[in-house]
């Protein structure tokens, strides 16, 4: 009973917030609805018994990716009138995307009707924790794709660093170790200047 109630709650909220992502007038509201959609999708995963995926969805998408989304969108200075005037111009492109998505949904549903794809893998035992099941598959059967994915991410990370990093010669950066190394003897001189002579720095 509770599971069915929870499913319809999460499913309705996911769809409703996904619709509101599109229809919200303010982009910040759109991002917030998107976050709600992520969150409810995580709830659906929980009902399926995939608690590891659910938690990862919340940690990665809600906790990190969407924060950065929100970070950027909040700082945009948006002219709503100009945004709406571009509607007709972008309409064909939008229609193409919508058609592609529709086709994908149809393909996915018909594939699902045809039966589950097992790929020769035994489904995990029900009493085995999620994380162990995922780990066992990732580090044995799918080790190679897993490593490739890691490598791609590493390349992407290095690429991002290279693209954004620029060393400028005209600024004096703070060198913390130098400041920590500095002793009173290096910084202070005790002098007793005679009257009228002053101190040479």
């Amino acid at each position: 009973m509770i599971a069915i109630f929870a499913f319809y709650l999460f499913a309705t909220l996911t769809i409703a917030s996904a619709v509101l992502v599109i229809f919200a007038r303010n982009p910040v509201h759109s991002v917030l609805w998107l976050i709600l959609a992520f969150f409810n999708a995580a709830g659906l995963m929980l009902i399926l018994g995939a608690e590891f995926i659910a938690m990862l969805l919340v940690i990665v998408y809600v906790g990190a990716v969407a924060v950065l989304f929100l970070f950027i969108v909040m700082m945009l200075d948006i002219d709503f009138a100009a945004l709406r005037s571009g509607f007709t111009r972008n309409l064909p492109f939008g229609l193409v995307v919508a058609l592609v998505l529709l086709a994908e949904i149809i393909v996915a549903v018909s594939a699902w009707k045809a039966g589950p794809v097992t790929g020769g893998v035994q489904p995990a035992a029900t009493n085995q924790p999620n994380i162990e099941a995922v780990g066992e598959l990732l580090y044995t059967r799918y080790l190679f794709p897993f490593e490739i994915a890691g490598l791609i991410l590493l390349v992407a990370m290095i690429g991002a660093i290279v693209l954004t990093h620029r060393s400028r010669g005209d600024v004096r950066g703070q060198k913390v170790w130098k400041q920590v190394d500095r002793r009173p003897e290096d910084a202070i001189r005790n002098l007793q200047p005679k009257v009228g002579e002053g101190v040479k720095l």
Binding site: V58, L70, F71
Partner: protein
């Protein structure tokens, strides 16, 4: 208790619901009381460090000060700025407060004394604590005011930066314990060193991570020296600038509930949680009139009090970081350090438990 309620006229679903509601209130209400008391305690600690008296007027020794403050805040008018985004403005403190409470669902107070003993407990805590930043961001944006907005940007960057190193520290603990379940992590610490000391922090391999986690948890809860989010001299009161009355109080309660939670996490992950520091039988509990009384929760609360004292001590003595120094500490020191320890610890475990080198 759930079974007893399910046996009554409520039936399975209703009994489950009512039993869990009572259990939730059993955690949440003492927590609220604890927040009131630790605010008082913290003010006393700061006062003692600054050679002042601290609150001493309301009630005996000023014990009722927090309740007086709460009453004052409760009776004030809620002011919503006319240019604010009204819905989000009101939701933001609710998010902060709720998120601070939901995490307590998985915190074990003793063996089996936990609301939900899920096997992804640590991930749940990580997920819920990463939601906490939304309260600050939404508050800052919805206020439609410059200082709260700056505060929101700072909060977002700071939270994301320190969550990375916290994640790696947690991975170290999980590798050592071999489970994500919090009760399991605590039990794995039993007799960790020579069978006598309970707690990962006594392990030289994990002690640096305990320190990193303590500092990161201060940054995660926006406490001094990392309270750039609400730096008074720069940003008035940060994201809370436009808030008044109960909406302000909710931020306040949520923040302190988070601080208590971080104290509990420090205790659970590195200092043995509900286990006594020494693995001696008489420290675990005592038998009185043929009934066994476990001292688990006493140990946990003692450890939390100790960490809370450390938090207050640091706040009273350490000056605030500059923002670039904060980012440097997070990305250039904690991240490589915790990454190095993930490698070291997993190597050590492969060597000792799986006998790779031998």
């Amino acid at each position: 208790m759930t079974a007893w309620f399910q046996g009554t006229w409520l039936g399975e679903g209703g009994g489950w619901f009512l039993a869990n509601l009572i259990l939730i209130l059993l955690i949440a209400l003492p927590l609220m009381l604890a927040v009131a008391m630790i605010i008082y305690a913290e003010r006393k600690i700061w006062a003692a460090i600054a050679l002042r008296r601290g609150p001493n007027v309301v009630g005996p020794w000023g014990l009722l000060q927090s309740f007086a403050d709460g009453l004052k805040v409760f009776l004030k008018e809620t002011i919503i700025p006319s240019s604010a985004n009204k819905g989000l403005f009101l939701i933001a403190p609710i998010i902060t407060f709720t998120v601070a409470l939901i995490v307590w669902a998985v915190v074990p107070f003793d063996v089996g004394v936990v609301l939900t003993d899920i096997n992804v407990g640590l991930l749940y805590i990580l997920a819920a604590s990463s939601l906490g930043v939304y309260g600050v961001i939404i508050a800052g944006w919805a206020s439609n005011s410059k200082y709260p907005f700056f505060s929101a940007l700072r909060a977002a960057a700071q939270m994301v930066s320190y969550e990375v190193s916290i994640g790696f520290v947690l991975i170290c603990v999980v590798l050592y314990a071999g489970t994500f379940n919090l009760t399991g992590i605590v039990m794995a610490q039993k007799g960790n060193i020579f069978g006598i000391l309970n707690g990962y922090a006594f392990n030289p391999l994990l002690f640096p991570m305990a320190v990193v986690f303590l500092i990161s948890s201060m940054a995660e809860t926006f406490r001094t020296p990392f309270d750039l989010v609400e730096a008074e001299s720069e940003l008035v009161a940060g994201h809370q600038t436009e808030y008044s009355s109960m909406s302000f109080a909710l931020f306040w309660l949520g923040e302190y509930a988070n601080v208590i939670l971080m104290c509990a996490l420090n205790a659970i992950l590195f200092w043995g949680g509900f286990l006594p520091p020494l693995n001696l039988d008489f420290l675990y509990g005592f038998t009185l009139f043929d009934h066994y009384f476990s001292l688990g929760w006493v140990w946990l609360i003692l450890k939390m009090c100790f960490f809370f004292f450390v938090f207050g001590w640091v706040k009273a003595t350490v000056p605030r970081y500059r923002y670039d120094q904060l980012m440097r500490l997070g990305w250039k020191i904690f991240l490589p350090l915790s990454l190095l320890f993930v490698v070291l610890i997993s190597g050590w475990i492969m060597w000792t438990r799986y006998g790779v080198a031998a």
